[in-house]
Symmetry: C2
Subunit: 216 residues, 2 copies
Amino acid sequence: MRLAELSTRSGVSTATIKYYLREGLLHPGRRVTATQAEYDEGHLRRLRLVRALIQVGRIPVNSAREVLAALQDEGLDPNRRLGTAVWALPHGPAPDEADPATETARQTADELMDRLGWRYGGPSGETPTVPAYGMLITAIAALSRLGYPCATADLEPYARAMERIAATDLDLVERYGTPDEQVEAAVALTVLYEPVLLSLRRLAEAEESRRRFDGR
Amino acid sequence: MRLAELSTRSGVSTATIKYYLREGLLHPGRRVTATQAEYDEGHLRRLRLVRALIQVGRIPVNSAREVLAALQDEGLDPNRRLGTAVWALPHGPAPDEADPATETARQTADELMDRLGWRYGGPSGETPTVPAYGMLITAIAALSRLGYPCATADLEPYARAMERIAATDLDLVERYGTPDEQVEAAVALTVLYEPVLLSLRRLAEAEESRRRFDGR
């Protein structure tokens, strides 16, 4: 398809598509004449993902480019490619090592990983530590610094709930046929389901609060 | 305690405390001389909450002021005060009614509330609709617009997991003794646990991906 059709089918303006092409967020089409290129379903899918990252996830263009580069590394097996792409998602400020709360937070997080048998965080050294682990440590340190310290046992129910969520996430991803589509879906669904989860949590809190406190 | 001690104990600079006082995010101390005021544990707790909202939650000062105003409305019963404060948290752009995806998203969300028996969203009209419901509709519409449409059945496992999370949230809140402290904790923990949840989800996805795809 030509640029105009890519624009109509994706709902992205031709100016924005040209910007994504210039920024390397979208791979070039197959050139057919000096001024025209031909685009395919792969371009359409990629455009969908770029919009998920930038418009919904509010991820900076530079980070989006890193995520997309990880998707394209054909040398990696599917698990590694999926991991690398999700790992490249922005994960907030790194833990502040000058803050004493960070050391305690790291111990709590290590203990949690140990209790759960998770291998991508913690001190095991068996597998690389994912950036989300730094995000977890930063969040635990902030809780404690603000007077709401949490213990490993407080975090465990949250982690168990996220185990079930991750299984649901991967079930959705496995509906897609090819490894390429699966990796793209994993990244898009990780980002797009974040507001779904956070809004459902607030709705569930309102319900739970009504059940416990109403009429007291 | 005097301003200097409030600053030391809270870890917030005196300049920032004065800014919060000017902006009405912190209630004035009890004036003891023309130039000095006395602060108490209530100020310390409030300061903790303001930092949770502004520094960790990145909530704009105007929104933070609304949340804090809701906390102080003594006329409301605890359930309503808790609800009002959490409801005042920012919840992203309202659903775009001009977009046809929004109508379908609303039907999906209504059906979900019905299936769950939740009363704070959906068409029942029995209870006020919480702003998080608009956030949910916006998120579902974005999924569908970007080519990842979801059905009520896809969302149900996420909602069930959030029911368990909300019960854990309220257990934490009930550890606090007074209704004032409980309402403050509910708001702070809602905001401060968001990065905990999102990072645990990414870690859990890495685990689940390894279990499913490794060695394939």
